[in-house]
């Protein structure tokens, strides 16, 4: 049985100008501990799809199944990381943010703080446990957000362009760190991005989407050993292939 299954997901947006199809017939399945990237141009509904998997939006047609159970609203089997740095609670320290999910679960204070510190160590921020988010850089805030989503030990990690607002150097560091975290934790990850290099670096498999309405165009399995070398010929070939599928290669113009 696949860990996550999207079955024929369709969503229609209600806009003042009438009904606009957002997603049409999106289906895919993934195994436990798989790293899946969803790539597509802006407006293809990839973030919407992630929000449906997270349980924030209910699709008009179709359903998401996680471990065989249909998704009804958000749940603690999934951790979510957003693009916006503002996702952290400014009134809580890094440690307090990471411990939030455990607190909601009713884990005693000493235990949840020990676990939260462990998660901060995983993203190399254990020395910033007492800092408030506004004292942390954007990259550090996103690392806290990752630690926070992992702290209550969900089986699935959902990430919506978490590094898109970072500068290129920090983004490279973050991608390496995330690959390490994934190798350590073996979560099932769905990662939405419009950056093909990022997808080739991180993913076991890439789902390519097309816009208006959002549909799955094809899937590409990345058969490269890890850690991956972004300058290798094979890596660049995968990048070119994805760009071609997205219609953004040089020949497309």
């Amino acid at each position: 049985m696949p860990h996550i299954e999207a079955r024929d997901i369709s969503l229609i947006y209600d806009t003042p100008g009438g009904a606009v199809p957002g997603l049409r017939g999106v289906s895919f399945a993934m195994e436990a501990s798989e790293f899946l990237c969803i790539v597509g141009p802006s407006g293809c509904g990839k973030s919407t799809l992630l929000n449906i998997i997270a349980g924030f939006i209910t699709p008009n047609v179709g359903e998401i199944r996680i471990a065989g159970q249909p998704v009804r609203g958000s749940g603690m089997d999934r951790g979510v990381v957003f693009q916006d740095f503002a996702q952290l609670f400014p009134w809580r320290t890094a440690l307090g943010n990471v411990a939030f999910g455990l607190e909601m679960k009713g884990v005693p204070k000493a235990e949840r703080e020990a676990t939260a510190l462990e998660q901060l160590r995983l993203v190399k921020l254990e020395h910033f446990a007492k800092s408030y988010p506004h004292h942390l850089s954007g990259g550090m805030q996103q690392r806290v957000a990752i630690a926070r989503a992992l702290a209550y030990n969900p089986a699935v990690l959902l990430m919506d362009e978490p590094f898109a607002a970072l500068d290129a150097l920090t983004r490279d560091d973050m991608q390496r760190l995330l690959a390490d975290v994934w190798r350590t934790t073996r979560k099932t990850v769905i990662y939405v991005t419009h950056n093909v290099a990022e997808a080739v670096y991180l993913a076991d498999r890439v789902v390519v989407m097309t816009p208006h309405p959002g549909t799955v165009k094809t899937e590409v399995t990345i058969k490269l050993p890890r850690p991956r070398d972004p300058l290798s010929v094979e890596f660049l070939d995968y990048q070119k292939e994805l760009l071609r599928l997205l219609g953004q290669d040089a020949k497309g113009h």
Partner: protein, 271 residues
Amino acid sequence: MHDVARASDIALTPAAAGPLRRAARNAFPFVVVGAIWEAVAHAGLFPPRFFPPLETVAATLARLTMSGVLPHHALDTIVRLIAGFALAALFGVTIGIVMGRSRRAEDILLPLVSIGAPIPGLAYAPLFLLWFGPGNVPAVALVAFVSAFPIIYNSWTGVKAVKDIWLRSAQAMGANDRRLFRHVIVPGALPYIVTGLRLGLAQAWRILVGIEMLAAVPWGLGWLIFGAQEFLNTDVMLAGIVVIALIGLALEKFVFQRLEELTVVRWGMLT
């Protein structure tokens, strides 16, 4: 001219300014106004009884403080202020948050709040005096009523301004409605709530001094100032105003600034 040059030097090199210099700079405008006051008072343009020099005001302030008259007036005023403001804070924050959370409450209450808020508080005073008779009850009730408006308004805005992404994050981490309220909505709205409380307190001060003049209370700074007019005791009136200013300053410095430092400033939510 020399003082002006020095002041600009300090502004250019703030790091070099010691605490003494900073105190001097803060005191500067008051020294100027005080000097002008003294000049006018001693020039004999007005009878000294109407325009007493500062030393007379200071002497009156000291005399009334020693005799316990001024502390008694101040204490009664502060008790009324705290009682009225506490009620306003309690009801204002509650109503504001309910309006922010419930669409129906917003539809019903917002028009009332929008119409009630700009009406000068003192306009309600005769009504409250008729309803509650003279004394403490109408004073406290009017203070509570009038200062609740900015608190309601800001608490409502604060709840509206709570970021959607905080709510989603908390929901994804298993927060139920009650915990969402306590751990996300209240702290998220706090910068606005604090602003509302500060505006509410300023409102409370203004209306309290006014209502004390009308409510026939035996003690209170408003009454002290109003009563002093009958006997042309300008120095007493000015002493009362000084005490009002000092209490306001103390509340701002030791209550609100402290509250902000511990919360919204520490969290980087207020720049």
